[in-house]
Each structure stands twice: as C-alpha cells, then as structure tokens.
C-alpha cells in the first residue's frame, strides 16, 4: 500500500504545448496498492493532464522516442527507466527534442 505522493512534473522543449502551455505541475498522486513508478505515472498523466493528441507524447507503454525524461536532473536511463519507483518530492522533467513538438 503506497502512500499518496507529491511530485513535481515539468515539461519543456515544446511538450508543454500538449498541456495547455503550463510547464510546471505540482501533482499529488493518490495512494494505491502498488508503489508508484514511471510507468504508472505516465498512465496517470495520460488520464489526467494530457489535454490533446496523446500519441505525440506517449507511445505504447513509454514516452515517444525523442522525449527525454529527467528525474531529479538525472537521466532516467540510469535509474531504470520505466521501473524507477517514485519518491516523495521527486521532480520529473520531460523535455521534447522533436521538431514537431
């Protein structure tokens, strides 16, 4: 049973265009059975934050290739990518390096 988490989700490089232009979102993730990881965070974002064109941000299970993910200013590849378990007060940053937003 995971306690509710408070994390900061930030978007840059054009990705914020899919989220009404708002770059920083302070979100509180509700408590749930399994601990929160990036995979479930993405599902949550898709359901709650993503306003339009989900295929431009999420592809299948993961983010679209070309979108960088930084957790606490560190590359998510070093932390296990989708399996990284979120901690309270983490900062997740999605930077789009794609031309088309």
């Amino acid at each position: 049973m995971a306690a509710p988490l408070s994390v900061e989700v930030e978007f840059g490089g054009g990705a914020e265009l899919l989220f009404n232009g708002i770059k920083k979102h302070q979100v509180t993730l509700p408590g749930q059975e399994e601990p929160w990881d990036i995979r479930s965070l993405l599902v949550w974002i898709k359901k709650n934050l993503l306003k339009e064109r989900p295929e431009l941000f999420i592809q299948g299970d993961s983010v679209r290739p070309g979108i960088l993910v930084l957790v606490n200013d560190a590359d998510w590849e070093l932390l296990g990518e989708l399996d990284y378990q979120l901690q309270d007060q983490d900062s997740i940053l999605f930077i789009s390096t794609l031309h088309g937003g």
Binding site: G12, G13, E16, L17, P65, L68, D73, L98
Partner: protein, 424 residues
Amino acid sequence: MVWQVLEGLSRDSAKRLRFVPGVVYVDEGAACGRSPADRAHTVAEMRLLLQAVGFPWHVVTLEEVFSLPPSVLRCFPQEPVGAVGTYKVAVDSYLQQQHALGPERAGGSPIPAQEGERAGQPCSHDPRGLAGPQPAAQTEALSQLFGSVKTLTAKEELLHTLRTHLILHVARTHGYSKVMTGDSCTRLAIKLMTSLALGRGAFLAWDTGFSDERHGDVVVVRPMRDHTLKEVAFYNRLFAVPSVLAPAMDTRAPEKASIHRLMEGFLLRLQVQFPSTVSTVYRTSEKLVKAPRDGRATGPRCLLCLCALDIDASDSATAFGAQTLDFSQTQPPTPRAEAGSPTEVGSAQDCCQGAGPCRRDDPRARVMEQLCYSCRANMKDVPSFDLLPPYILAEAQLRSQRASQDIQECLVEDSAEDSLTAET
C-alpha cells in the same frame, strides 16, 4: 550555441575565441499562420533574451524575402581575409530549432561579470528589425505562398530555402563572413536521411558537413555537429540556458505529415533500440567528400539551393532526361508561348539542349530548368510560381537570357532561325 560562444569569449576561458559575433533571429510566424499578437509576443521575448546576451543582434521577418535583390542567388568569390582588419563571424542562433532544449526562460540568469567590461562593444538595436508592423501586403503574400503549397514537405523545404537566402543577405549586408548554425548531431543525422529521401544525395557533403562554401563569400559552419540533442538538452537544463519557444510549421503535426517528420520518427525510434544509430549515421556523413562532378569545379548552379547542378539535361537516354522532355511537352500553353507553339513540336528535340524557345517563354519552365533534381521535385508541389518572391523570378530570367546569349554565340546558323521564330 550562443551560450557556448559567450563562454568561449569570456576572459576566463583558457582558449579564448577570437571573433566578433552577431546574432540573427528570423521570425517565421507568417509562414506558420500565427497571429500578429503571438508573433509580437515571441519577438519581444526574443529581444529581451538577445539584449541580455550582449552581442549585436538582428531580428528579421520572413516577409523581407520579398525585398531581397537577385544578387543573393549569386555566388561571389571569397573575399581576402585581411580585407577588414579583424574578420567577423556571425552567430546565427537557430533558436527555433533550439526551442526543444532549455525548459526555463531567463528570469534572472546570472550574466558573467566579464560581460560588463565588454559592454563597450556596440549592442546595436537592429536597424532592419521590426520598426513597426510589417507591410500587410507582404505578410499576405507570404501566407498565400505557403498556403498554396500542396505538401508539408515542400513547405518545409521552401521555408528552409527562403530562410537561408534571408540570412545570407543579412550576413552580406552587415559584413559577416561566416554564419554559424546550431545543428546538432541528431539533427544532422535526420537531415542526412531526409536529404537522401528528397533526392539531394549529390549534395550531402555540403548540407551536413562542417563547412559549406557554396555561397562563396559567406561560409556556413556547423560547430555543434558533434553534440547530440540529448547532450544539448542536458547542458541547457543544467546551466539554466534561457530559451524562447516559437511554434513552427510542423508543431503538432502527425508523424506521417512530411518526409522530415517521418524520418525523424524513424531515426529516433531506431535510436531507442540501437543507441548507436545516430552516431553511425553521423560518422558516415563525416566521410563524405566534396568532389566536383566530373572533375568540373565550375558549372551551372541550382537557382535555389546554389549547389552545382547534378542533372544532365541534354542526356535524354536517362530516366531523368526523358522526364524533362515530357515536362516541357505537357506544359499548358501560356499566352506568351503562343508565338512559339508552331515550333513546339519541332523543337522538342531542341529542348534537351536547353535552347528551345518554347521553354524560354514559359516562366515556370524557365525556373524549373535551372533547378537541381530535388528542388524540381519540391517545386512541383508549388502550383503557381507567381507567388514566389520576385528575386527568384528575376534571377531566373537573367540567367536564362545569359544562357541563351552564350548558346547563340556558339551555335552558327540554327540559333538565328530559332530566335526569329520565337520573336514572331
């Protein structure tokens, strides 16, 4: 890139760069269909940023292509280096490409103390910038031009061409001898594959190499080509490099909207599974050599991209030659070509020598015959050449007149008869 140049020019750095840079920003809002208020907002943000940087800066709008002189399409020989005392280098920050990097805008970004000492350098306001709202006619003409282009691929290519010409003009006007663009390794790998798909295989070395001297006096260099986009993004984030986001033509376009988007998606997807993809493509591009075709150093150049023409119009045995013949024969007769129509059938064989009078009278054909293969393919998606900026059409006319003069001097009697039938 601008930030790195700033760092390089600061007094603290071990190897100090020795050039005087300026920054140019091209406002392409009209081509993307943005409202004037949005564009003014972006330009204002950009101005704040550029003022903070401290270099002389220029803001130009894409509408200014309508006032460019035809000389921008000519290749001038390189000027001697010692002509102006110290050589100047222009820094062209494609901030629109770099908009993908750097999440935060400058709030109070720390400006190094050295900048204050260099304030003696004139931080000139832009003489050619937006003094006020652009003439609405030019904005309208530009939106019409881009609105009439059928495919996004052709639009992007046209935008790239016009932007290049405009920047070249700014560089020449202000005396800059080099233009630095911020193309990263990833972008260049994508560009290489896209160029192959568009038929620019002959010019890959110029399009993706470190230096591009096709314009003669102004050299385009790509100093960031060793860095991947990921590195640049991390750098921007960790050093809090301010940035401005300007939506471009292809923002929010679906993946298969254009060849550029498709290739980008393809390469980036491959990169996820095979992390050496981008670097492999990049290394391959480094091996490309700029050898002139058939050993000829000088020859006719494409009107738009200014590369040496890669087509042999007189060779009708090739598929391309046959295509060119078909093209001239299926042209709808324009009023001016009526005089040439009786000779049209007979001079079909002359067309492949490029001296056929029927072609000369048709402005569209006249422009098309001076383009390289990929520019021709792109221009096929532009239905009306009348909407193109006048400098392109003027230069096309000038070149075809010059070419026909040259040919007529060489040919003996046939040319006199041909020109007579064209006049009648």
